[in-house]
Subunit: 208 residues, 2 copies
């Protein structure tokens, strides 16, 4: 999908086909957010005005690019994981043995599939952390792009969370459910604080 | 850009090149949100369980697709508008006459450029309104996708606003500034209410 054109991807997402769905689209939203952090860092690297922060900004750039590429992988990763869950639902369910096997396979594929939105959430959270520094040390001419970065990364983090939760809701393994929630919930809580902080600074800089 | 691959677009956005920047990326984020509304509507059309709302959902689908295609155009439209502003900044500024001409051209191109994020904001707001109905009448199996739709449309609306504001900040024509603000500010205020309402309903449905 990532090698297809932007308008093909959008048409496929809009169509009556389950994939790409909300998980993949969240990964792409996060990748757009990461790309904006990279752009801001790219316009800060090598600028005399920002010479004191060159080393840190280079590190931010390398991390935002890592997040962007990971999120691009997850655009496809979510489609693959979804396909495996769908296949499990298509298993035969005539005999008791078949039913039991199908139930186990669905649970197994669903647990595996949850790894994808969890990873999307983790990458988006990292982008939020990078924005928290970029808003202070990045090229001030691109302050609105830091804003777009933080807004999209936050939307994508929450979108990933919805995909984690909807998958968890079909599972009976309560300890698995609690374990995964304990991973993503702190990211949401801390993420909202970073969003408010960064968005506040961006607005203060722009609307004078 | 829209005919290029997803990964080429993302690389270009991340690169040390001003376009695509935050305006174009916001338009694409909004298009992703609109695509999710279309998908939910597509999976509601023709379903017996939702026969009472068929006419309304078909209308929603047609509107979400209209928003998506308009936002796709604006992904490119923002790049073109930005290029015209940049060209104005490159005009000669040796003589007083040249300086005056350059100043006027920059203001003219900037005023024109603001039309793009204003239109992005208006399309994203429309997507939010569609989500407000879809969360109640759309296929419940895709409830998390309604959530992703509303989250991305809201992020994109705010991203568009940052691009409106940063362009307004360079203008001296105060009545123009106030006029444009009076267009976008109600969309933000009402948009936040819709976001809270829809996101609340989505969570209630998913996390039980």
């Amino acid at each position: 999908m990532i090698k297809e054109s932007v308008d093909s991807y959008l048409s496929a997402a809009a169509s009556r086909s389950p994939a790409p769905g909300g998980g993949s689209v969240s990964a792409l939203g996060g990748a757009l957010g990461a790309a904006m952090s990279s752009m801001v860092a790219n316009f800060t690297v090598g600028k005399k005005k920002y010479e004191d922060v060159q080393e840190e900004v280079k590190k931010i750039l390398s991390e935002s690019e890592e997040c962007r590429l990971k999120l691009e992988e997850l655009v496809e990763g979510d489609i693959e994981a979804y396909t495996r869950v769908s296949s499990a639902y298509s298993l035969p369910k005539e005999t008791d043995e078949e039913k039991e096997n199908r139930r186990e396979e669905i649970a197994r594929a669903t647990k595996e599939a949850i790894a994808v939105p969890l990873e999307i959430a983790s990458c988006c959270f990292r982008v939020l952390e990078l924005c928290r520094r970029l808003v202070d040390i990045g090229n001030k001419r691109l302050i609105s792009d830091v804003g777009v970065s933080v807004l999209l990364a936050w939307a994508a983090l929450q979108g990933a969370n919805l995909n984690v939760e909807i998958n968890l809701s079909s599972l009976e393994d309560k300890s698995f459910v609690e374990e995964k929630r304990s991973v993503i919930r702190p990211l949401l809580a801390e993420g909202r604080m970073i969003l408010d902080e960064v968005a506040g600074k961006v607005k203060k800089e722009i609307v004078k």
